[in-house]
């Protein structure tokens, strides 16, 4: 590919943050009248590259070249002046101003120093009509539906003379109709000779609207497909993840032993009826329910994070008196909380601190003096065992990706004498590759004879990972299915509120 002829070129772009290389020697080019998809897992570098393109970040190395000229953007205004507009998920419009004012913000047409409303509205109407939209320019932007707001944003880019337009997850909050509308606009931008970059997680969309695709992984450029011929879903996933994911769950039956956890008649805030359930050693029990069904509340009650009004908990057949998380941990019951940032990690502390926080007191001299040797050894061991990606044990946990943060919390409990683990939404906000790693950790735990409880709102996941599925609705357990009995319809039906279920 003769690089010098491309309209937009990234030449060796690198961007380093403390301890993290977000982009590493990114080089590729794009021609006019093309729509290029940028894909990769979370943290692969797509968004960082867009931020470099839009001038929000200054690259550590390399240069962006537009029409053969080196561009060094120091702000989004610089980029806009060079004809680059990036349209983000959260749109950059002033909702209290009218459509026309937003379009011409900062460069309103004037006559004798006064804003000429008439000219402005006429221009705005024309610009929007060219996109196939008949939006009233005097409408307040805040009153438009999200799809139309996005059109205003595109029109705004065009009024600034943007030649290069990048979209960052543009369809995430659009309806089907709005999405189709957006795609036809993107095609017309292409026909008019614009350079369009399209970042999305939704691979189907990419096949629909893009004519070429660039894949990123770990901040590096993996491969660019100049045409979509011979490119399919599996090929892209394979390049994104760097390995084949045939069966992302990897379920295999295991032997179950005697009950690991027996909960009887537990009741507290968030539950409307006493809840009872059992999990055997080596078993994975899934809890499904809609938001507010009481799943997290039930887990927190079992773990002693909330006071319970009644009910008993037995661990390996012995009664466990759990009045606080510390009690639960002592009895061998662990919880990975739903909201990792709020309840799980201690962001300003190191990976090693987050990992050893609970188990350390057993290894400290006299329960008081830190056993530095053990701490280091344990942390190193767990980081290797779970393949936690961190530059060092002393890296602050907040700089790790979501999947690695989750693994640190799992490692925290692996350092204890665990008999039962309650996993509340263990894969929420984690990308595909890390998800399958988390699943294999879950299976490994069950295989060791630990009783696993897994809460999830992801229907495919809850049908794919556990041995048994319990369903909750309106603060009570409504059903229990074996893995073989459970289907999407059955589970969903029992998860709906009572009124809805009768109607269904």
């Amino acid at each position: 590919m003769p690089e010098t002829q491309s309209y937009l070129e990234f030449q060796g772009i690198g961007k380093t943050f403390p301890g993290v290389r977000a982009l590493d020697d990114i080089t590729f080019g794009m021609d006019e009248g093309r729509v290029r998809a940028l894909i990769g897992e979370n943290g692969a570098g797509k968004s960082t590259l867009l931020k470099v393109l839009s001038g929000a970040y200054t690259p550590t190395t390399g240069v962006v070249r537009i029409a053969g000229r080196d561009c060094a953007f120091h702000s989004t205004a610089d980029a806009l002046a060079a004809g680059v507009a990036v349209i983000y998920q959260e749109l950059n419009l002033v909702s209290d101003m009218t459509v026309a004012e937003n379009l011409y913000l900062g460069h309103m047409p004037t006559r004798k120093g006064l804003v000429s409303r008439k000219t402005m509205h006429a221009h705005a109407r024309k610009q929007l009509e060219s996109l196939g939209e008949s939006i009233d320019p005097s409408m307040k932007v805040g009153r438009l539906p999200i799809g139309q707001r996005q059109m205003v944003e595109i029109a705004k880019a065009l009024t600034r003379g943007a030649k290069i337009i990048a979209f960052d997850e543009p369809t995430s909050s659009l309806s089907d109709r709005e999405t189709r509308n957006l795609f036809s606009v993107i095609r017309s931008l292409k026909d008019r000779g614009h350079v369009v970059l399209y970042v999305s997680h939704r691979l189907e969309e990419i096949f629909e609207v893009c004519d070429s695709v660039t894949v990123f992984r770990d901040g590096r450029h993996v491969e660019t497909f100049g045409t979509m011929e011979g490119v399919n879903h599996d090929v892209l996933v394979n390049r994104m993840v760097g390995r084949d994911i045939h069966n992302i769950y990897g379920y295999a039956p295991r032997a179950h032993g005697e009950p690991a956890l027996e909960v009887e008649g537990i009741l507290g805030r968030g539950l409307t009826e006493p809840a009872s359930f059992q999990v055997a050693k080596g078993e994975i029990a899934g809890f499904f329910g809609l938001v507010g069904a009481g799943r997290s509340e039930l887990m927190r009650l079992v773990f002693g994070a909330e006071p319970k009004r009644s009910g008993t908990v037995r661990v390996l057949g012995r009664p466990a008196h759990i009045a606080s998380p510390a009690d639960a941990i002592r009895s061998g019951v662990m919880l990975c909380p739903e909201d990792r940032k709020k309840d799980g990690i201690i962001p300003v502390r190191a990976v090693m601190e987050n990992l050893n926080i609970s188990a350390r007191r057993k290894h400290a001299y006299g329960g008081f003096l830190i056993n530095e040797g053990w701490e280091r050894k344990n942390a190193r061991e767990k980081v290797d065992q779970l393949a936690i990606r961190t530059p060092s044990l002393s890296q602050l946990i907040m700089h790790l990706s979501g999947g690695n943060q989750q693994k640190v919390i799992l490692a925290r409990w692996l350092s204890e004498e665990m008999k039962v683990i309650l996993l509340d939404e263990p894969t929420r906000g984690i990308d595909v590759g890390a998800k399958s790693e988390i699943y294999s950790i879950i299976y490994a735990l069950a295989k060791q004879g630990i009783g696993v409880v897994m809460v999830s709102s992801d229907l495919p996941e809850i049908l794919g990972v556990p041995d048994r599925i319990l369903v909750m609705s309106e603060g009570r357990i409504t059903a229990s299915f074996s893995r073989d009995e459970a289907t999407e319809e059955k589970v969903l039906k029992m998860a709906l509120p009572t009124a809805g279920r009768k109607a269904a």
């Binding site: 380093t16 403390p18 301890g19 993290v20 290389r21 770990d218 760097g242 390995r243 773990f303 994070a305 606080s324 998380p325 510390a326 639960a328 941990i329 002592r330 919880l335 909380p337 709020k342 309840d343 799980g344 990690i345 201690i346 962001p347 300003v348 502390r349 601190e353 926080i357 609970s358 350390r360 007191r361 400290a364 329960g367 008081f368 003096l369 830190i370 393949a387 990606r389 961190t390 530059p391 060092s392 890296q395 925290r412 790693e437 294999s440």
Partner: protein, 347 residues
Amino acid sequence: MNGTDSRMSQEKLKALSTDSLVRKLLDSGGMAVVFLALFGVFSYRIDRFCSLDNMVSLGLQVSSIGIVACTMLFCLASGDFDLSIGSVYACSGVLAAVVANQTGSVLFGLLAGILIGGLVGLVNGIVIAKFQINALITTLATMQIVRGLAYLVGKGQSVSASSEKFTVLGSSLLPLGWLLPGRGAGGTSGLEGIPTPVLITVFSFVLFGFLLRYTTFGRNTLAMGGNKEAARLAGINVSRLQIIIFTMQGLMAGFAGAIMASRMGIGDPKVGVGFELQVISACVLGGVSLKGGIGSMTFVVSGVLIMGAVENAMNLKNLDPFFQYIVRGGILLAAVLFDRFKQRRAD
């Protein structure tokens, strides 16, 4: 899982982290460097600054703030702070003098001073931890209550200690003169030893620095300050920890008050107004985070010494005391701005 792949990227990341080693050094010891620089400049520009006598008086000058800053470090690190210490500092001194006069026992007097501090701290801790009341409001209330108590105990006036022995704790010199340089041939320094309060301060720095860095208690304190709910869910008894921290804080404020009273031979209910803010300033100046979770004794020692050195230099230069307020505030503002700048860059 592709083992070699993840190993490779781990090594790559490791290489990256050494780049920032210099940065880390600056981050953790930044204020210590600032202190050394200030010290150098003052020694060069101000005649008597670097003299042994002045060093001893600098030590005495920072001893009260230094002692209380040790436990304030724990308070801040755990995400709270304590405004009542200035009043405790005064009340303890008055009570020490009164009890010493009435019982005839200096020891009882000093113990009473320390214990009243512990009691106030315990009350603070229980109200904050068990009743979930904001530390600002709680300690603002006890600050006023205890100030009133100090006046009541002293019947509105400062109380002179009748026994000469009362001043031993604050004014004695420990015969460690041989530790000091320049006592050889000339023997001009005339120093016979190091004042007891200075040694107590140094000892407190070491003790509490050790507690924070090398014990489960210290690490749990930092974890709690970093994210209280996460610490609780990790099995840390956060309310017990809070009560211990506030009690400790009260005891040390009481101790500092007793030492001060002993140094003066007087328990004065008017002392220590604004003391809490000076202590918090010193900690923050050194780099202890007001949001909790970040702090070390190095930070506190640097902060206390910078404050002390600047004040000492201003005194030597006979700077108008009104200016001193402005300079002190200016330094604090500069320190927090610098801290914010560092954070921005880290993001």
